[in-house]
């Protein structure tokens, strides 16, 4: 059974300048043991779609979906109180800025044990034991002493390990990692990614890894979903996506990888993701797409079949002759 199944998720923000659709008809499906990477430039609605699922968006957000189920529970008609029993326990999340994601006023131990206290039926001694165990699990030396430390006494990598320990405290079925390494040094980045994939293998949980780094995707994920301006534009297994990207945006992202560059100058994608005031007609990528024609600029493209990576494009690239 699919652990997490989201169909046609949209999130609209009420802003001073009118409604703004940050997520526009996105589907997400994850099984147990699955690692899904969600890739896209800044502002493509990756974080917002995850926060919508966790129920962490401010009241200015209106969330709609045809389906939004986790482990057989319909997340749409959960009361806030019921939802709090699920998040932090079966479904947990870590964030981009580990240093600011821990509360500076409380010790690491307090923050980890707090999660255990509200979700698990454990006494003090059990919580202490579990907290030590968790720090060992995420590779923090001298765990007893570290539990007494305050967040400002730790480095970014260490803080992210603590965040991971906290997220894993109640053995979640799904872990969402929202750009967990973007704020860290390159060497630490690799360590944290290894830790995440190891833990995923060990526990068999599902992992959603949000990133804008295609390199990270290649090393960790099994499946990739590319998002652009709030829409899912393509989804494929990692190997196939790297071999045959079908959406021009995916192709451009891959061309921008240093290790795949064929020219001396790294190709970049001109322009930026459209925001609230410059959403184009037709295909949202058309202002930046080198294949765009009048049809692209006028008509929203359809979603192509699965063998074309579900690409949202009129003219998918790398299409085999017989498939068209």
């Amino acid at each position: 059974m699919t652990l997490l199944n989201i169909k046609n998720l949209s999130v609209e923000f009420e802003t001073a300048g009118g409604a703004f659709r940050a997520v526009d008809g996105v589907d997400i499906a994850v099984d147990e043991n699955d690692i899904l990477a969600i890739v896209g430039e800044s502002g493509s609605g990756k974080s917002v779609s995850m926060l919508a699922m966790m129920g962490l968006l401010p009241w200015t957000a209106t969330i709609t979906a045809d389906e939004m189920s986790f482990d057989g529970i319909d997340l749409r008609d959960l009361s806030a109180k019921q939802r709090r029993k699920v998040i932090g326990r079966d479904m947990s999340m870590i964030f981009q800025e580990p240093m600011s994601s821990l509360n500076p006023c409380f010790t690491v131990g307090f923050q980890i044990k707090e999660t255990l206290r509200i979700h698990m039926d454990m006494d003090r001694a059990q919580r202490q034991k579990r907290a030590v165990e968790l720090l060992e699990l995420v590779g923090i030396p001298d765990p007893e002493r570290r539990l007494k430390a305050f967040p400002h006494q730790m480095s970014g990598g260490m803080s992210q390990r603590v965040m991971i320990a906290m997220a894993l405290a109640c053995k979640p079925r799904l872990l969402i990692a929202d750009e967990p390494t973007t704020a860290l040094d390159v060497t630490i980045q690799a360590q944290i990614l290894d830790l995440l994939t190891d833990l995923q293998k060990e526990t068999g949980m599902a992992l959603i890894l949000i990133t804008h780094d295609m390199g990270v995707v290649a090393e960790t994920a099994q499946r990739v979903q590319v998002q652009y301006a709030g829409q899912k534009v393509e989804e494929q297994p990692v190997r196939d996506l790297f071999a045959h990207p079908h959406h021009p945006y995916t192709a451009a992202l891959l061309d921008a990888l240093p290790e795949r560059a064929t020219e001396r100058h790294l190709p970049t994608i001109p322009g930026v993701v459209p925001g609230q005031y410059d959403r184009p007609q037709g295909c949202l990528f058309s202002p930046r797409c080198k294949f765009a024609d009048d049809k692209c600029r006028a008509v929203s493209p359809p979603v192509q079949p699965r063998d074309l990576g579900l690409a949202r494009c009129h003219y998918p690239v790398n299409a085999k002759e017989d498939a068209v």
Binding site: M54, L56, K81, R83, R84, K85, V86, I87, G88, R89, S92, M93, F95, E97, S100, S101, L102, N103, P104, C105, F106, E114, T115, I118, H119, F150, H152, Q153, M163, M166
Partner: protein
């Protein structure tokens, strides 16, 4: 922490000397002659005036007078009142509990109402409660104290007859001042109705004195909370599945308290200024009223000694606030 404390204590020294100079100079730059004021309507003869003038030491150079005062202070001697002939220390300590009791009640009132109000306003930002609270805070902050006091007296003492207008307790109760705090002494006395009477006397002055600190604390709590609520660690707390009460009341409030404590400390300084007016209006026998009376009497030792003690008090409170700051903010504690 110890080093921090020591460096704080060192900054005490210049401040202390400055306060001595200002308290000494303040009353002397006011026009008016203590001897003439003391003599009153009857006046004083030329010879007697000269005699007193020398007795008080006014004939000596001002610098010498200051030096006498300053060395006296260092030895713990603040001089004797011209009027009552009692040492300034003794007078201060017999009156101080009344001011302390009033101030403690006022600041507790301000904290216990102001912080929850600020939190609720921040959590319900832009909604009715928030707007209502912020407008009343603005009014409370800008209202003249004596006008507000008179208004309360007219309504609660005059029209409704619920509270007395002056003093600390009804005259029919009489007992030893064991602690100097009327609320405690009246309870200890075991006399029927004494405690209730003390509360009824205290309530209006405490409300009046609490008004400005209450407004300031509520506003500071609200803005600190608003800032903290946007922080990443609040999102983390919510992602853990914590209830809003716990997210707002523990994770957010603890961080928001850091600036609020500073404001509470500053409020204590303002409280003493407010106490002078409040005590005068409600004839509350504390140091505020004592100092106002002695300014009218040009009782130099009382005014300068009282000022000095009040200033020291504010300095000590500020130090305590700094310590509390360290306790709540781990980044300072570990220095």
């Amino acid at each position: 922490m110890l080093r921090y404390l020591l460096s704080r204590l060192l900054t005490f020294v210049p401040t202390f000397i400055g306060v001595c100079i200002i308290s000494f100079a303040f009353i002397r730059v006011l026009p008016g002659d203590p001897i003439i004021v003391m003599a009153g309507e009857r006046g004083v003869s030329e010879e007697r005036y000269q005699e007193l003038y020398e007795q008080f030491g006014f004939d000596r150079p001002i610098v010498v007078q200051f030096w006498d005062y300053f060395t006296g202070v260092l030895q713990g001697d603040l001089g004797t009142s011209y009027v009552t002939k009692r040492p300034v220390w003794d007078e201060f300590f017999s009156l101080f509990p009344a001011t302390l009791e009033l101030s403690i009640c006022a600041i507790l009132l301000a904290i216990l109402l102001g912080i929850p109000a600020g939190v609720i306003a921040a959590v319900n930002r832009g909604k009715f409660f928030d707007r209502a609270l912020m407008s009343s805070a603005l009014v409370g902050y800008s209202m003249p104290i004596f006008w507000w006091a008179l208004l309360l007296i007219i309504v609660f003492s005059g029209n409704l007859g619920w509270t007395p207008v002056s003093g600390r307790i009804d005259l029919l109760y009489f007992f030893d001042a064991k602690t100097g705090f009327m609320l405690i002494d009246s309870l200890l006395s075991g006399q029927d109705g004494a405690f209730q009477s003390a509360v009824r006397h205290l309530i209006l002055p405490a409300i009046v004195l609490a008004t400005i600190p209450l407004a300031v604390i509520a506003r500071q709590t609200r803005s600190a909370m608003l800032e903290v609520l946007g922080e990443d660690y609040i999102r983390t707390a919510r992602a853990k599945g914590l209830a809003p009460m716990r997210v707002n009341g523990v994770h957010a409030l603890r961080n928001a308290m850091i600036p609020v404590i500073t404001v509470v400390g500053l409020s204590v300084g303002m409280l003493l200024a407010g106490a002078i007016l409040t005590e005068t209006i409600f004839s509350w026998p504390g140091i505020g009223k004592w100092m106002v009376d002695s300014i009218y009497r040009r009782d130099y030792p009382v005014v300068q000694g009282g000022l000095l003690l009040v200033a020291l008090l504010v300095m000590v409170v500020n130090l305590l606030v700094d310590l509390a700051y360290g306790l709540i903010n781990p980044k300072i504690r570990k220095r």
